[in-house]
């Protein structure tokens, strides 16, 4: 649009809107059906975005439940997809050790380093008298475990440094294990058996809730040395994994760098070889997850947009009808001095009015659906991103401009004299 056209547009804007609203109201049935088309489209897109966002937030929340700025060092990456043993290079890697954790701790006072080792592969019998927990798993950990994995202690306390140092026979229960074997009594100070060996309960971890189909609460935690004594085959096979949390969030990048440098030096990795251990941060996991679900969510939003496109076709169709039926009106306008661009402005405004009303109603309906889903399906905490209502409105306006352009131009091209003569 040239500058003068823009000025004319502004001048005529209010009257255009008034005219447009009049025209829309005059043909109630027709306008409401046209608007309905846009409403359905925008609502679908809004609801889809809300549900997808909710789903993502749910997963990301789960990932962050173990610490938003936690760095995890493992022997090899978690592998998804078809099974089979890890490739040869990975199988030959050295285990990570408790000494690695100690070295990192010495070198980085600005971070908390915890080492842990889990045994998941068998049924572990954990008993209080004749009550038995429902196949929990066993972790060996040091006194830094609660910080390293963002766990809070629900009751009692965690191990002390001395208990870890002396491989004391003490245990901290996950909340699910506590419910199974101490349903009524206070477990602190009581004895339980882990695979027949007697341990004293000193604390209970706070509940985290089920995630990705497994429960992190169905476990017991032993001091690393006690674990190594009882499950030494597991320690020998997989070694430990390390969790590192910087004390100040802004140190995260520096801590990652330092950790990698120290680990490479300790494991004597030549400078021209890649890391022979895996470093994972929650950010990484989240982006991995996004890569998996991104395609599906993109496709869904795309398909939802198609219905908006069809709504736009409806707008165009009705505007064309409107132009034909109001040919005489256009002729009169032109005869009393309206310019071509005035006619364009008039019909374009009408189209945009239709689609914007539809967009606004669609946004409202989308918000409503999102709220309903949130209230009825707890697994889908739908959320409306702040940009989504905005984009919904702008896109519906854009649809009005795009599909209103041709009818408006067609109206402006009518020969004034012919138009006046039209019946």
């Amino acid at each position: 649009m040239t500058r003068s056209a823009w000025a004319a547009f502004q001048r005529g804007f209010t009257s255009n809107v008034r005219f447009a609203l009049g025209a829309v109201l005059e043909q109630k049935l027709r306008s409401s059906l046209t608007i309905l088309g846009i409403v359905v489209g925008v609502t679908t897109v809004m609801a889809m975005v809300a549900i997808v966002t909710g789903f993502n937030n749910n997963i990301i929340g789960n990932l962050q439940a173990f610490g938003a700025n936690r760095i995890e060092i493992q022997k090899y990456d978690e592998r998804f997809g078809p099974g089979g043993p890890p490739p040869e290079e990975m199988r030959r890697r050295k285990n990570l050790t408790v000494d690695d954790a100690e070295a990192l701790r010495q070198a980085m006072p600005e971070a908390t380093v915890s080492s842990l080792c889990g045994y998941f592969d068998a049924v572990i019998h954990i008993k209080n008298g004749n009550r038995e927990a429902n196949s929990p798993y066993v972790l060996g950990a040091d006194e830094f475990y609660p910080t390293g994995t963002a766990y809070n202690i629900g009751r009692g306390r965690f191990f002390t440094a001395a208990e870890v140092e002396h491989s004391a026979l003490v245990v901290v229960l996950g909340s699910e294990v506590q419910q199974a074997i101490f349903p009524k009594e206070d477990p602190i100070g009581k004895d339980i058996t882990v695979e027949g060996l007697r341990y004293r309960v000193v604390g209970v971890l706070e509940r985290k809730g089920e995630q990705f189909g497994y429960s992190p609460d169905n476990k017991v935690v032993l001091p690393m040395g006690s674990f190594a004594r009882q499950f030494d085959f597991q320690m020998r096979r997989d070694g430990v994994s390390l969790n590192i949390v910087p004390k100040r969030t802004e140190d995260l990048d520096r801590v990652i760098e330092k950790t990698i440098a120290i680990m490479r030096a300790r494991r004597r990795v030549p400078f021209n070889k890649p890391n022979d251990f895996a470093v994972a941060t929650p950010d990484q996991l989240i982006s991995q997850f996004r890569a998996i679900t991104g395609g599906v969510t993109g496709a869904m939003v795309f398909i939802a947009l198609i219905s908006l496109l069809i709504g736009g076709v409806g707008v165009m169709n009705i505007m064309l009808v409107s132009v034909t039926q109001r040919t005489r009106e256009i002729g009169i306008r032109r005869a009393v001095g309206a310019l071509k661009r005035d006619v364009i402005g008039q019909f374009l405004t009408e189209a945009v009015t239709l689609s914007t009303i539809g967009g606004a109603l669609g946004v409202l309906l989308g918000l409503l659906i999102s709220a309903t889903v949130k209230a009825t399906v707890p697994a889908l905490p739908t959320a409306i991103p702040f940009w989504s209502p905005l984009v919904g409105l702008l896109v519906s306006m854009g649809v009005g401009i795009f599909f209103g352009a041709y009818p408006a131009v067609k109206a402006s091209r009518l020969d004034p004299i012919e138009a006046l003569r039209w019946e």
């Binding site: 359905v40 089979g84 068998a122 189909g213 869904m300 398909i303 496109l309 409806g314 009705i318």
Partner: protein, 404 residues
């Protein structure tokens, strides 16, 4: 009024307003196109999983130590089971009366050498000689091993295409020797190129007789016994029971205890896949259906306009003896004709999209989708036309005649 007459009137009305009819058509076309292409892509993906990823004939049952594992609990319980062994295979082979074929496979990973060349982490499949009747094994050159070779644990191997490329890049591999764990193996066959399936390279593989694999490598997890019933698909239940009984009695399993082994059939895997994917697919079909709803709204709108514009014509028809029913039928026919035409265009467009997509991604148009596209389009037209047609039929004839 006769149907053919109605038909020609409707067509005429549609032709009179070409642009308008075209745009209305476009709405339905896009809607049906979306539905048809979404259906094709979903069904293509399903077929891909069934045929390529799972790669199991529908009439074959597999008995393994683990079966399908869905969570840690099942894994932990399955770890306590005894592996399925060559002795189990022998017994099933000898005793199973309803089995047309009994085979087995085992998977290991090894490093392969040939002269100065080496390839690490190659999956080595140990098969029985009759496995080609149970699984799809296509050879490009050479032959499969024979029952005597299986019996004598012959050191022969069929290699996948990548193994050939890495170890014998420029020469014919048949008759050459390669080494696994120091054992010399004679190459007797070359597998047809399979390509990648879900990122897993199916060409990086070697196939050896099961007996040879068991001679040179041990495994805790044992073998997988595969059986095909004499009566084909109909005999699956009977054969499953027979083999179950055999394996249970071999393990002396008390009658009230669960099977100490897993049974995998194509059906079980399919239902697992469905339980994973059905939700997302249903949502996609639903959303694409919504675009058809919008297309219906566009039709209804245009039909209302059309009724208003042709009020005079309707009055004239009524004056000349047309009954309400006739008027109603005329507009219904017009809207459903419009929608069906759109449906046909949409099916065509959807097919084109599916064909284009199938270059990159599995997608397949089935006759059923064409039918679904056409039928839903016609239904959309009928439903969208109901209200406008009723409005037209309700017009008082005298008023309508007077309308300008």
């Amino acid at each position: 009024m006769r149907l053919s007459e109605l038909f020609s009137i409707s067509l005429q009305a549609l032709r009179l307003n070409k642009l308008r009819s075209g745009l209305t058509l476009l709405g339905v076309i896009i809607g049906v196109m979306t539905v048809v292409s979404v259906l094709s892509i979903i069904s293509g993906l399903n077929d891909y999983v069934m045929n390529k990823v799972i790669n199991l004939n529908p009439d074959v049952l597999v008995f393994t130590r683990y079966g399908i594992i869905r969570n840690r609990m099942e894994f932990v319980m399955a770890r306590k089971r005894k592996p399925v062994t060559a002795r189990d295979l022998q017994v099933v082979r000898a005793e199973c009366r309803s089995c047309a074929a009994v085979g087995a496979q085992q998977r290991q990973v090894a490093t392969v050498h040939a002269g100065p060349r080496k390839l690490a982490d190659v999956p080595v499949m140990g098969y029985t000689a009759n496995v080609s009747t149970l699984l799809n094994v296509d050879l490009q050159a050479g032959r499969f091993f024979t029952p005597p070779e299986e019996q004598h644990a012959a050191a022969v191997v069929i290699i996948g295409y990548d193994v050939k490329d890495q170890l014998f890049p420029t020469i014919d591999p048949i008759g050459r020797t390669l080494y696994v764990r120091g054992y010399p193996l004679r190459v007797i066959g070359l597998q047809t190129k399979q390509g990648k399936v879900l990122g897993e390279n199916r060409d990086k593989v070697m196939i050896v007789p099961l007996t040879f694999l068991q001679k040179v490598m041990t495994s805790d997890d044992g073998i997988a016994i595969m059986v095909r019933p004499v009566r084909g698909m109909k005999g699956l239940d009977e054969t499953q029971d027979e083999v179950r009984t055999l394996l249970r009695s071999l393990r002396r399993t008390p009658f009230a205890t669960d099977d100490p082994f897993g049974i995998v059939g194509a059906e079980a895997i399919q239902s697992l896949w469905r339980s994973i994917s059905a939700g997302a697919f249903a949502v996609m079909v639903l959303i694409s259906g919504i675009s058809l709803v919008v297309g219906g709204i566009v039709i209804a709108n245009i039909m209302f306009v059309s009724v208003v514009e042709r009020t005079h014509e309707i009055g004239l028809r009524m004056a000349l003896g047309a009954r309400k029913r006739d008027i109603k039928r005329q507009f219904l026919l017009e809207s459903s004709l419009l929608a069906t035409l759109g449906g046909a265009g949409g099916v065509l467009g959807g097919t084109l999209v599916a064909v284009a997509v199938s270059q990159l991604f599995p997608a397949e148009v089935k006759l059923a989708f064409v039918a679904i596209g056409l039928v839903t389009a016609t239904l959309t037209g009928l439903i969208a036309g109901l209200a406008p047609a009723a409005a037209a039929a309700r017009l008082p004839p005298v008023e309508a005649l007077r309308h300008e």
